[in-house]
C-alpha cells in the first residue's frame, strides 16, 4: 500500500509549493501580453483591428496541439511503463486541451466572419481542428465509460495515441492543401514573418497560456490523486464491512 502512493504523495507536496508561483507568473504574462496586444501594437495593414483576435486565437491553437502532444506522450508512458502519474496527467490534460481547441475554433470563427466573409468553411485546417476537439471529447468519454478505471485508462490511451496522427495533419494542413487559412507566420524555417510589436504580445500570451495549462493541470492531478485515494478507501471499508458481517 505504501509504495502505491509514494510517488504521487511526493508530487503533491511539490505541486502545493510551486502552484502559487505558477499562478502569479501566469497572471503577469497574460496581463502584460493583453496590455501590449490591445494598447501597444498597431492595426494590421490588411486586416485592420481584427488582427487583435490573433493574440488569443493563435496561442489557443498552439495550446490545443501542445496539450494533445503532451497527452499522447503521457498515454504512451502510461501504457509502456505503467507510471501512475503519467496516466493521471493525461486525464488532467484532456479537458484543458479540449477547452483550448474550442477557443481556437470559436475565435477563428469570429475572425473568419469579417475577414473571409464566413463563420465556417469545411477546409483542411478547420476540419482537422474540429476532429481534434472530437478526439479530446472521445478520450474523455472513453476514459469514463468503464466500471474498471484501469480498463478505461487503457482504452482511452490507445485512442489518444491513434489520434496523434491528426497533430501533424493540422500543423501542415495549410501547406498540403488549398485552404482559406493563412500559412504559419511565427514557426517557420525562415524565422518569424511578423513585426516585433505584434510578436511580443503573441509570445507573452502564448507562454502565459502554457503556464496556465501547468497551473490547472496541477490542480486537476491533485484532484485525480485524491479521487483515487477515496476509491481505495471506500473499497477497503466495504471489504472490512463485509468480512465483519
Amino acid at each position: 500500500m505504501f509504495h502505491r502512493f509514494a510517488n504521487p504523495t511526493r508530487f503533491l507536496r511539490f505541486a502545493a509549493v510551486i502552484q502559487p508561483w505558477i499562478a502569479a507568473i501566469t497572471v503577469a504574462l497574460i496581463g502584460s501580453g493583453l496590455y501590449l496586444g490591445l494598447f501597444n501594437s498597431p492595426a494590421d495593414y490588411q486586416q485592420g483591428e481584427t488582427v487583435r483576435i490573433m493574440y488569443v486565437h493563435v496561442p489557443s491553437a498552439w495550446m490545443a496541439l501542445f496539450c494533445y502532444s503532451a497527452m499522447a506522450g503521457a498515454c504512451a508512458i502510461a501504457l509502456i511503463w505503467k507510471h501512475p502519474l503519467a496516466e493521471l496527467s493525461a486525464k488532467a490534460t484532456a479537458p484543458i486541451g479540449a477547452g483550448f481547441t474550442f477557443l481556437a475554433l470559436v475565435t477563428g470563427s469570429l475572425w473568419g466572419k469579417p475577414m473571409w466573409g464566413t463563420w465556417w468553411v469545411w477546409d483542411a485546417r478547420l476540419t482537422s481542428m474540429l476532429v481534434l476537439l472530437f478526439l479530446y471529447l472521445g478520450y474523455m468519454a472513453l476514459n469514463n465509460a468503464f466500471d474498471d478505471p484501469a480498463r478505461g485508462a487503457k482504452s482511452s490511451s490507445i485512442l489518444a495515441l491513434v489520434g496523434f496522427v491528426n497533430v501533424p495533419i493540422i500543423k501542415f494542413s495549410v501547406d498540403w492543401w488549398n485552404t482559406l487559412h493563412q500559412p504559419a507566420s511565427v514557426v517557420k524555417m525562415t524565422g518569424p514573418a511578423i513585426h516585433a510589436s505584434m510578436l511580443a504580445p503573441l509570445l507573452l500570451i502564448g507562454v502565459g497560456f502554457t503556464t496556465y495549462y501547468l497551473w490547472v493541470m496541477l490542480i486537476r492531478i491533485r484532484y485525480e490523486v485524491t479521487a483515487n485515494k477515496i476509491r481505495t478507501l471506500q473499497r477497503r471499508q466495504a471489504a472490512t464491512g463485509e468480512s465483519q458481517a
Binding site: 500500500m1 504523495t9 488569443v56 477557443l103 475565435t107 484532484y223 485524491t226 471506500q234
Partner: protein, 59 residues
C-alpha cells in the same frame, strides 16, 4: 470619452474582437474555478472518509 468609445469600436470590428476575448476569459477562468471546486470537494470527502476509522495514516 470619444477615446474610449473609439477604442471599444476597434475600427468597426469591436463586435468581433470583444466577443473573442470574452469567450477566452469565460472558458479559461471557468475551467480554473471548476477544477479548484472539484479538488476542494474531493479533499473534504477524503477527510470525512478518513476521520471515523483508519487510524493507520497513509505515508
Amino acid at each position: 470619452m470619444t477615446g474610449l468609445s473609439e477604442f471599444l469600436d476597434m475600427g468597426g470590428y469591436g463586435h468581433f474582437i470583444w466577443p473573442s476575448y470574452a469567450v477566452v476569459a469565460v472558458v479559461m477562468v471557468g475551467l480554473l474555478i471548476i477544477s479548484r471546486r472539484e479538488l476542494g470537494t474531493a479533499l473534504r470527502d477524503l477527510d470525512a472518509l478518513d476521520a471515523p476509522e483508519a487510524p493507520e495514516a497513509e505515508q
